[in-house]
């Protein structure tokens, strides 16, 4: 155990935790937008897988990681739109339709991978950016300021989301539509438009989450996300539908994951236990969710399709 408490290992564990939190953070923030407007989207993981494959494939072919991320964005937007058509326009049962998207993403991303790639080839990763001055701070600098650009983007998305939700007119409409769509409608706010917008944002961020994950791991394989999209949905509840809370949840999950990985690498956890240890992040997150989430109420209109005049 003493091996764990060395400076190098601790730094690697924290930095690793931050890195592991990134895909979850993107996906959770996206899901949060949808839920704040009253739509539960269970398809996140499917969109992440499609984004992951798209991003991976684009980088494989072009060696351009930014193009890879952009492909993730495009795929995400398309599937955000599809989700919106199903949940908003067609008023599909939200607990079911998202699972359809998930299963499609799971199968289709693997199919394309088998068809177009076959044997997994590694790809280029995001370049590391050492933030000038800050990255030279001992220990802290290594932990926080020597990451790839997507890590900074992901964490910058947190204050940006807070700003959008709390300070902009659009954010006010999102909150209103999620809590009382009839009231918003009676004041001329288009419930449909707002929900389309949030679901497209959600899809976009899920696609980015997937692409960021694949490019960070430099690989694609079947079910690459390992249900991270579902954890992301849980994190929205954990974070009480607030960007800071969601970030806290993503970091908690990332750190527990990172610690388990380090303990395994150092041989502190025997190999035979590794499957059980792999469950630790999910268990910790779910426990925290149960404790935290009971104090907060979800948006009142969550999962309820809107129809004017009842």
């Amino acid at each position: 155990m003493s091996d764990f408490f060395t400076e190098a290992v601790l730094i690697a564990t924290v930095a690793g935790g931050i890195r592991l939190a990134v895909p979850l953070l993107f996906a959770s923030l996206g899901e949060m937008f949808g839920q704040r407007s009253g739509v539960l989207n269970l398809g996140v993981d499917g969109v992440m897988l499609l984004g992951a494959f798209g991003g991976y494939y684009a980088v494989l072919k072009t060696d351009n990681v930014w193009l890879g991320l952009l492909v993730g964005v495009a795929i995400g937007v398309v599937f955000g739109l599809i989700t919106a058509v199903m949940s908003v326009t067609l008023k599909a049962e939200q607990g079911i339709s998202g699972i359809g998207i998930y299963l499609f993403g799971l199968g289709f991303s693997d199919l394309l991978f088998q068809k177009w790639v076959g044997t997994p080839l590694p790809i280029k990763a995001f370049p590391k950016i050492n933030i000038p001055v800050l990255s030279d701070i001992p220990i802290i600098g290594e932990m926080l300021f020597r990451h790839s650009a997507v890590v900074y983007i992901a964490f910058a998305a947190v204050p940006l989301s807070m700003f959008i939700i709390n300070r902009t007119n659009f954010g006010m409409k999102i909150r209103a539509v999620g809590e009382n769509p009839e009231a918003a409608d009676s004041l001329g706010v288009s419930v449909t438009k707002v929900r389309y917008a949030t679901l497209i944002i959600g899809g976009l961020l899920a696609g980015v989450a997937g692409a960021a994950l694949a490019i960070d791991l430099k690989i694609f394989q079947q079910n690459l996300t390992n249900a991270a999209g579902f954890i992301a949905i849980a994190l929205v509840y954990f974070g009480a539908w607030r960007p800071l809370g969601v970030m806290g949840g993503a970091l908690l999950y990332g750190f527990v994951n990172s610690i388990v990985l380090q303990l395994k690498t150092l041989g502190i956890i025997p190999r035979s236990w590794s499957d059980i240890a792999a469950m630790a992040p999910a268990i910790v997150t779910i426990l925290a969710l149960v404790i935290v989430a009971q104090r907060f109420k979800p948006p009142a209109a969550l999962t309820k399709p809107f129809e004017r005049g009842r």
């Binding site: 009382n180 004041l187 004017r308």
Partner: protein, 503 residues
């Protein structure tokens, strides 16, 4: 300013609005009066763009107008105060007002500017609210002020008020009327929807009455009386106050001591409540909705476990009993939400009547239902209580609200109970059925049943009860004699002023 001509709206199987003409001049309060389902709300939803009319024309200031959605209505200066407030509870007053409007700062909100204007409007019209307070923290009366401010902020010149007084105490109603009269004097046109006749007479300049989607009369307020309006609403002469003789109260049949009942969301909704109801009397419980009346009723019926206190029915302690056991002590219960707790919509009339007796051996034959006996029993009750139903096998949901209520009351009174708890017995029920239900309650009283009648309708409370208890925040503020008490006195108690302080 507004003319609606020949408005017709059909819903599957119903003609909700049948060639209706309606108009409003600036500086008047034009009341739309009618029973539930008469077509008042339909007409107003058409005007506000929530429904589209099948036929007819709407003109505003002489110009033909097509209103497709609420935005169109707002743009043309039409504001609506909905019966169920259209407010977003977690948002602040300013946010609720600003919602849907362009911000002076582009994508950013401009809540400080909005707040200033809210305070200005509040000062002009006596609508004082704190712009930074979230809606969920506000009392109903305050929330309604926010609704009016929302419309005024959008410079509405024509205001639709859909049953605005339903949730207010009499004092809050007076305050609201002061504001509304001021708006009228400022040249606004007001459409007031209500079925409370004394309010209609107090506020209106003109009254149009609807029945079954048709206009049955349009009269100036001068010369109108409660009786003449009720007759137009129902189509025949009605007695607004039931005839009744002096009560002859007997022993205490329902005795409640130190009762505490928790709310679903925590906190006590009923707090240390003591109450006695005697055999042969009707105790009316008045109060603004949500002050613990429903919790009290459910606790008596055994549907909700009290956290402390005792309830005795005919001398038997019933706290801790199952609802079925409570019934065997002699309780009958007419719940507030009749389609949720009182009847099963998909069950037939006959089955609904059997709901409380399905284990009774009169209706069983070797453990199986004896349909002959069941039919005979339900036929007798349906006839006796004049429940209008095509057959005994008609699903209850196809009946009108009044007939469903009569069916429930028939079922509950069939066992000649010791105690009857009736919550909102005539809410949403047509005047004819209400009249009948009141007569029936009084008859049951004369047969020595102790009746606890919970009602938010003060006319009902004063007309039917022998004593009136007023509830506020889970406590009884005082008990008054309806023959000597005034509405103002009861109104103050409904707002939390103790009985002694009102004298």
């Amino acid at each position: 300013m507004l003319e609606m001509r020949g408005i017709t709206k059909r819903f599957p199987g119903v003609l909700a609005s049948d060639n209706v003409d309606f108009d409003v001049f600036p500086g008047e309060v034009h009341t739309l009066l009618g029973e539930n389902g008469a077509g008042k709300s339909t007409l107003m939803k058409i005007l506000y763009g929530l429904y589209e009319a099948d036929e007819g024309e709407v003109r505003l200031h002489g110009e033909p107008l097509s209103i497709k959605n609420p935005t169109d209505a707002i743009t043309h200066g039409i504001g609506m105060i909905h019966q169920h407030f259209m407010l977003v509870p977690p948002l602040t007053v300013a946010e609720n007002v600003a919602l849907g409007l362009k911000s002076s700062r582009g994508v950013l909100t401009d809540l400080d500017a909005v707040s200033e204007r809210i305070v200005e409007l509040g000062e002009t019209y006596g609508l004082h609210v704190d712009p930074s307070a979230p809606i969920w923290q506000m009392a109903v009366g305050e929330q309604q002020r926010v609704e009016i401010i929302k419309a005024l902020y959008r410079e509405a010149k024509l205001l639709i008020l859909d049953e605005p007084t339903a949730v207010l105490t009499p004092q809050e109603v007076d305050q609201l009327f002061v504001t509304l009269r001021q708006l009228k004097d400022d040249g606004c046109g007001l459409i007031f929807i209500s079925h409370k006749l004394h309010e209609v007479l107090a506020l209106s300049t003109r009254i149009t009455v609807l029945r079954h989607g048709k206009v049955t009369g349009s009269v100036p307020v001068e010369g109108a009386t409660r009786e003449s309006l009720a007759q137009m609403m129902v189509g025949r002469a009605v007695k607004l106050a039931p005839d009744k003789t002096e009560a002859k109260p007997g022993n205490v049949a329902l005795k409640i001591r130190g009762l505490r009942v928790a709310r679903d969301r925590g906190g006590d909704g009923v707090r240390d409540l003591d109450l006695d109801v005697h055999a042969g009397e009707i105790l009316g419980v008045a109060g603004v909705s949500g002050n613990g009346q429903m919790l009290l009723a459910e606790a008596i019926a055994g549907l909700r476990a009290p956290s402390a206190g005792s309830i005795e029915i005919a001398g038997t302690e019933v706290v801790g009993m199952t609802p079925k056991q409570v019934r065997t002590t002699g309780l009958a219960y007419v719940p507030e939400k009749r389609m949720k707790d009182g009847a099963i919509g998909d069950f037939t009339v006959s089955e609904n009547i059997l709901l409380i007796d399905h284990n009774d051996e009169h209706y069983l034959n070797h453990g199986l239902f004896d349909f002959g006996a069941i039919k005979k029993h339900s036929r007798q009750l349906v006839d006796e209580y004049t429940v209008k139903t095509p057959t005994l096998d008609t699903p209850a949901r196809n009946l009108s609200g009044g007939n469903i209520q009569k069916m429930i009351i028939a079922r509950e009174l069939s066992g000649t109970p010791e105690v009857l708890v009736a919550a909102q017995p005539t809410r949403g029920v047509d005047i004819g059925a209400a009249e009948y239900i009141h007569t029936r309650l009084i008859k049951q009283r004369d047969e020595d049943t102790a009746i606890l009648m919970i009602s938010e309708d003060l006319d009902e409370v004063f007309g039917v009860s022998d004593r009136v208890a007023v509830m506020y925040e889970g406590q009884v503020m005082g008990i008054v004699d309806p023959r000597t008490a005034t509405r103002e006195e009861v109104g103050l108690m409904m707002a939390g002023v103790e009985q002694d302080e009102t004298a």
